[in-house]
């Protein structure tokens, strides 16, 4: 199987649309899952998905190599942010979660012990709802980490926050999801 970078180069240098299609198909699922976590509806996520790929296509000539998946995550996040801005629903990363305290200050008390197994009967829709209910910063860090596979350093740089904040937001997101999805010890 060809590497992502080979497919992107095949399109950017030779104009091979088939290679680009293969790349789109390969990354379609996680990108849409990522966008569904950031946007209110599945239709919004599909629109942002298309926007993201149009951006990739238009800037393909500037691609000089490097990891494709984190790059796609950054482009997809940018497309989602633009869509939220158009909808007037863009909120700051430090926005409060509706209960009067900022996300970073509201860490759950319960910490998992090493080796603890997480089990839950939550459905896909329950999980999407739970993710969308997270504060903006922790939600974006969680999605960029688990779907885009960016390093915390890359996430911090992308969000323009210190590395410690990105790590704290990831911990917040994980613990809140555990709390909301009813994981058992």
């Amino acid at each position: 199987m060809e590497e992502d970078s080979e497919l992107l180069f095949a399109y950017s240098r030779r104009g091979d649309v088939e290679s680009l299609s293969a790349l789109v198909r390969r990354h379609a699922v996680w990108m849409q899952a990522f966008l569904r976590g950031l946007l209110p509806t599945a239709a919004d996520a599909e629109d942002a998905f298309q926007d993201a790929w149009v951006r990739v296509v238009k800037s393909a000539g500037k691609y000089r190599g490097g990891k494709v998946k984190p790059y796609l995550a950054v482009v997809a996040r940018s497309a989602a942010i633009d869509r939220l801005r158009q909808m007037g629903r863009l909120v700051s990363l430090d926005a409060e979660d509706g209960e009067g305290a900022s996300a970073a200050e509201r860490l759950p008390d319960e910490l998992p012990s090493p080796g603890e197994r997480f089990e839950s009967k939550a459905t896909a829709e329950d999980v999407r709802e739970a993710v969308r209910a997270l504060p903006e910063g922790p939600r974006q860090v969680l999605l960029m980490r688990i779907e885009g596979e960016l390093s915390f350093k890359e996430i911090a740089s992308e969000l323009g926050v210190p590395l410690g904040t990105a790590l704290t937001w990831m911990r917040t997101a994980t613990l809140k999801l555990k709390e909301m999805l009813g994981g058992s010890k």
């Binding site: 104009g15 299609s21 603890e116 997480f118 896909a124 994980t174």
Partner: protein, 132 residues
């Protein structure tokens, strides 16, 4: 963060459940990609044509300059002789030659007259002239 791996894997699995690529979306992306690729290739070809034209023009200029320089800087010996002859044949050249010739003739005449005068003079006066 290893202790959170289970939660992350669970969330990732659920988020991706039932998600599929819509064929019309893929078709639209392919259409934009094809159009963009066509535009990029056209731009690239146009840039190559410009480069090729510049390269040809520069090559012609270099070859021309070299040829002119070569002709100017290496005259043949027979050409040099011909140039000198031509120069001598010009009005200035002829005048210079005739002036030179007239000067030398007048000098020769003066010497000859002096010799004739010495020849005709008496011996004593000639000695006297030399010892003055």
């Amino acid at each position: 963060m290893n202790e959170y791996r289970d939660i992350e894997d669970f969330v990732k699995g659920r988020l991706e459940e039932g998600v599929a690529l819509s064929p019309p979306r893929l078709a639209e992306i392919e259409r934009v990609a094809a159009a963009e690729s066509f535009a990029r290739v056209a731009e690239c070809r146009s840039r190559h044509r410009l480069w090729a034209a510049s390269l040809v023009a520069a090559s012609i200029a270099i070859v021309f300059s070299f040829a002119v320089l070569h002709i100017d800087s290496s005259p043949k010996p027979e050409n040099t002789v011909a140039c000198v002859i031509d120069l001598l044949r010009t009005a200035d050249g002829a005048e210079t030659l005739s002036e030179t010739s007239a000067d030398s003739e007048s000098e020769e005449t003066a010497v000859a007259e002096m010799l004739l005068a010495w020849q005709d003079a008496p011996y004593e006066s000639a000695i006297a002239d030399l010892t003055k």
